[in-house]
Symmetry: C3
Subunit: 261 residues, 3 copies
């Protein structure tokens, strides 16, 4: 396709970097800054205006935004963003480097996301959520924030660095997932989950993540040992640090458990 599709509608005030591609019919509003070497697919809305916004939508260099995605004015997104299709990012998100976010996932605004975070599809992240570096969030995970719905009480969720939240888990209001902790598929996570442990489908802490093993392959958590290579090279140092933290936390949990037994 041509660099900018002739059917795209680009506000002359929008600032597009070098080598930016824009697909058919995509609409780019004026208060937008797009980094170099970014590709935007068809039927996207980029910089959807927000009357109260005081900052533009900024998307870093080397990003890929797939078709039918909607990004609002007033969010700041690092380089190498990669979205699936039908992704929604509302205003007020501050997002680090190299977020990957799957199709049909939505970030409901006013949140903070670290570097190298990975989300699959159909994920819903409510306002106020904090997600730290290198966290993994699988399909249909929901991060909530109202402990007595509907109410004005606001109790958002924190997901620690390197944590893993599996398919269909719900992070209940005010819950925190510690560094490298693992939340099983379908669990309702509540309260404070310590670093380096896992909770099973009941939502209860069951042991250190080093007990999570796939017998067929011998693969064992923390995931950084066998899957750190899935992140880009410039994440390697952070991954290495995280692995040390996760192993130390898992060991500490085991030690405390033994001492209390």
């Amino acid at each position: 396709m041509s660099t900018i599709s002739p059917t795209a509608s680009i506000d002359p005030a929008a600032k597009l970097g070098h080598n930016v591609k824009v697909g058919h019919n995509t609409v780019v509003y004026g208060d937008v800054e797009i980094g170099d070497d970014t590709t935007i697919g068809e039927f996207c809305v980029i910089g959807e205006p927000v009357p109260s916004a005081t900052t533009p939508l900024r998307v870093g260099a080397g990003s890929t935004i797939r078709s039918h995605s909607v990004l609002y004015q007033g969010s700041e997104i690092g380089s190498r963003l990669e979205t699936g299709h039908f992704v929604l990012i509302r205003a007020g998100a501050r997002i680090g480097e190299n977020l990957r976010i799957g199709s049909y996932s939505s970030l409901e605004g006013d949140m903070r996301i670290g570097d190298f975070v990975r989300m699959q599809g159909n994920v819903q992240i409510g306002p106020g959520t904090v997600i730290e570096d290198c966290a993994w969030i699988f399909s249909l995970v929901t991060a909530t924030n109202d402990p007595l719905p509907p109410s004005h009480v606001f109790s958002p969720v924190r997901i620690g660095a390197g944590a893993v939240v599996c398919v269909g888990a719900t992070l209940m209001p005010g819950s925190t997932v510690g560094t490298g902790a693992f939340v099983a598929a379908g669990a309702q996570a509540k309260g404070d989950i310590p670093a380096g442990v896992f909770v099973d489908v009941t939502g209860e802490v069951k042991g250190p993540i080093t007990h999570l093993i796939d017998l067929g392959s011998g693969t064992r958590h923390p995931w950084t040992r066998h899957f750190g290579d899935a992140l880009p090279q410039d994440a390697a140092e952070r991954v290495h640090e995280l692995q040390e933290e996760m192993l130390a936390a898992a060991k500490q949990w085991r030690t405390a458990k033994t001492a209390s037994a």
Copy 2:
């Protein structure tokens, strides 16, 4: 943007009120009536033709339909509709005033929805469902209708006025949620849930809604006491009536429980 985007495709037979805005590329078919002061975003399909439909799509005044939404011919929607993005409303829905419905939610047609209903994102409401005034339906809730799938048996769901259905709950075929009743996150709701009570994640009735309290803030159900202000001014009378009904139902449930104990 201009009132009607030059890239929108509007059938000349469509009836648009005063001060209607239509976004880029949106398609409006002919059998459509849109009330005054309504804003329709980009990439929408409005009045998707249905061969069997005998009535137009009607959308009341003061509505907002966000981008990438699809509304079929043959539904009647009151004033002040507000949709998220990627919303789908099929034919045969009769919807009251001021529905708010979140992104990725779908109303599968042939249903009745009262006034001031609130739905978050990723909600799926099956055909035949009845939802009464001021009900709250949170993310990923599904209202089903087939008790022995797949079959021709049709047993839809009813959600009472002021009821609250929390994130990820499934309303099983034929279930009814009483006035002001509360269904916890992740519950499978079955059978008839009385007015003014709550069911927890197990799907069992556990007590009157007045026992639902957020200790940190002292907030307590019914929600009308602390959150009625989230609805518009002209809902106030209905909310007040509902609160009386909810409190009476909760009290009645406690009394019956005490008598049977």
Copy 3:
């Protein structure tokens, strides 16, 4: 509408059959073959290019692709495909005749799907999944493939012919659902579920499918007895064969159970 909307963007290399309709603004890329009598709605992306693809996107005759759907290059789809809105089919899917797939559902590529498969909305099927003929998959079902997320271990799911997977069920990595087996709403299905049995919400096998009955209507599984008519005429022979297999498997399970009791 006109046969090909003047606002559609059709690559001259694309091969469209006779009587193909293409809706407003839809983009059809070059490496695409669309069968006769197919209708494509508005705002679709057809044949999204995949650098590594060696085959075109092929869609069989008599298909209906609803608005806002995205189909990648490199998939082979039989005749009479019918999609909802916002459907996503990635590269490498081999799909039989007459798939029906609901709105917001995604097929994540590299999978094999038989004939006459039925999926509702919000279904997510991961890479590597095999789905056999006449299977029924309801809303929000997820077929996963990673037993120790995140990892490089790959353990996809198989869904047998005529099987039924109910709303919100999760098929855990490596699970297999036998011919005509039934997975209840909200279950986490694990391991090998034998042909002709059902698992309830706990994920445990509870009995033969012939014990699944709707008391009100007297309807009883296998579904082929009361719902085979929902499939087209040319499925009748396959449905009849399947019914024999399902009844035999259910009987065999009962016999084995009695013998071991």
